[in-house]
Symmetry: C2
Subunit: 303 residues, 2 copies
């Protein structure tokens, strides 16, 4: 930086200010400095910068799985000049380790959580970082769930099971209740967000004396697993069981599952925009993200 300063005939402090767009530099100086820096291919050393107390220009992204939301977030972050520190917290042990060690102190300007609903302890740990954070997914998931429930209700379903995947908490029953559906404990089950997980969960689901006529899966892969397994068991979709996925990735297109699509990539991008607002000290209001029901052939009128 001092080289650039020398070349531009100013002090290092001025170069620093000019390059970061800080106020208190004449436009002429800023232009000049930027030009010199560009010519010298100078790039600010982030380590030194953050050591000295400035911004860190890095955001930690915590996610329970690598998915398109991640891709969207990464793009938006990168475009804003931020680094992305990726943490894939897929299993309980990784998660525990992370929140125990909390390796983010003084290292990032913000935290983005993708498809992770935190326990209270985790939430507290995160707060202790004193860094803005934002969560993607839950609000969207709830909205998606409502959409799915309405769809099934319109088809005459009243016995609806809920298959939730890791990182999704328990507070969804109310949505079913609001819709006037009966909530049975054995109809709310968890499984891993994989095809395998979905296949396995069918055993649990179709085991009781009274069977649901429809199932909503929070995860697309699991929805697929359910579909495959149900068919393999000789049942018909949607006649014996309607299936709606709340996660409209390509997966659900594959076999034509009805799904609520949330435009994952855009979700990531919006989250980043919100996070920046927070970092700048602004307030965000939970804007509704459009959610779109795509009816394919895994849902039909109740038999």
């Amino acid at each position: 930086m001092s080289d650039v300063a020398k070349a531009a005939g100013v002090s290092a402090a001025t170069v620093s200010r000019a390059l970061r767009g800080e106020p208190g530099v004449s436009e002429a100086t800023r232009q000049h400095v930027s030009e010199v820096a560009r010519r010298m291919k100078y790039a600010i050393a982030r380590d030194a910068s953050s050591l000295a107390g400035g911004r860190r220009y890095a955001i930690a992204v915590l996610t329970s799985e690598v998915n398109p939301v991640l891709a969207g977030a990464e793009g938006a972050l990168r475009q804003a000049g931020y680094d992305v520190l990726l943490y894939v917290l897929a299993d309980e042990s990784a998660r525990e380790k992370f929140f125990d060690e909390l390796p983010l102190g003084r290292r990032v300007d913000g935290v983005l959580l993708l498809s992770m609903s935190l326990t209270e302890g985790e939430q507290a740990a995160l707060e202790s970082l004193e860094v803005p954070h934002i969560t993607v997914d839950d609000a969207d998931l709830r909205r998606a769930l409502r959409t799915a429930v309405e769809h099934l209700l319109a088809l005459g379903h009243h016995d609806v099971a809920l298959v939730l995947s890791d990182g999704v908490d328990e507070s969804y029953d109310e949505i079913l209740i609001e819709a006037g559906l009966e909530v049975r404990p054995e109809w709310t089950v968890w499984c891993s967000p994989t095809v395998d997980g979905g296949e396995q969960v069918v055993d649990v689901l179709l085991d009781g004396e009274r069977l649901p006529t429809a199932v909503i899966s929070s995860n697309g892969a699991a929805a697929l697993g359910i579909y495959l397994r149900v068919q393999r068991d000789g049942r018909t979709v949607p006649d014996d069981l309607s299936i709606v996925s709340l996660d409209g990735q390509e997966l659900t297109r594959v076999v034509g599952l009805t799904a609520v699509e949330g435009a994952a990539k855009e979700q990531g991008e919006r989250a980043v925009a919100d996070l920046f607002t927070l970092i700048r000290g602004g307030e965000i209001e939970p804007a509704d993200h459009p959610v779109r029901l795509v009816v394919r052939n895994s849902s039909g009128p109740v038999a």
Copy 2:
């Protein structure tokens, strides 16, 4: 760190050495310091550490798409105490920007490239970083392709098309030739690694006067797209067309596509191990990674 030093009754320099496992500290001192640090929940400040000239404890991961290999690599890196700087270089513009700006100077100890085959210019740019880097995928893809070709050959296929996805270069014809297959330019096509991409590519593929009896797709999603589209067109798989995917994610399981599974996650993990060997100054030898053919029902004897 000076707090820890004080508490342990040694100097900061000794704490630094002890915690990093540097030689020149007595085992007793090291134990003691580690214990004190643990008790004080002290974690080394990476920024300062790298500023002062030490390691950066960060690896850049460049990838053309977010996929399971990424998850595997992240896990291994994290476990080794390294940060993961994620760069999703999905489209040409992101890629160009990256290699133009090369934002990694003095910021990472190594670079991991996932499903990215570099142009010569890009390769040169990367070398200029003077940081070890390692590429995942190509060798595995070639091996997978050989496996797929053998499988089809055994089934009597001689007219085999190749559908390649972004980031895959052109040098695969030789593998077909080695196997004694005829290579026709119109039977080697590119498409995006998505279901849509696969669907679209069918138009090109089944357009000529002579049609292939089998197709190998480098990407699982594209393979699915091909499958769906071919069926929708009223053709039968595998009677009219055998399909083999070289990428055995969950996607291919879904409809039962024959696939060569490379254990994506393990691939990522192995790449990380190799990268560390490189960072430590060691040599790596291209160890063969096991590749496994999973025959499902999208491939059958030639009609």
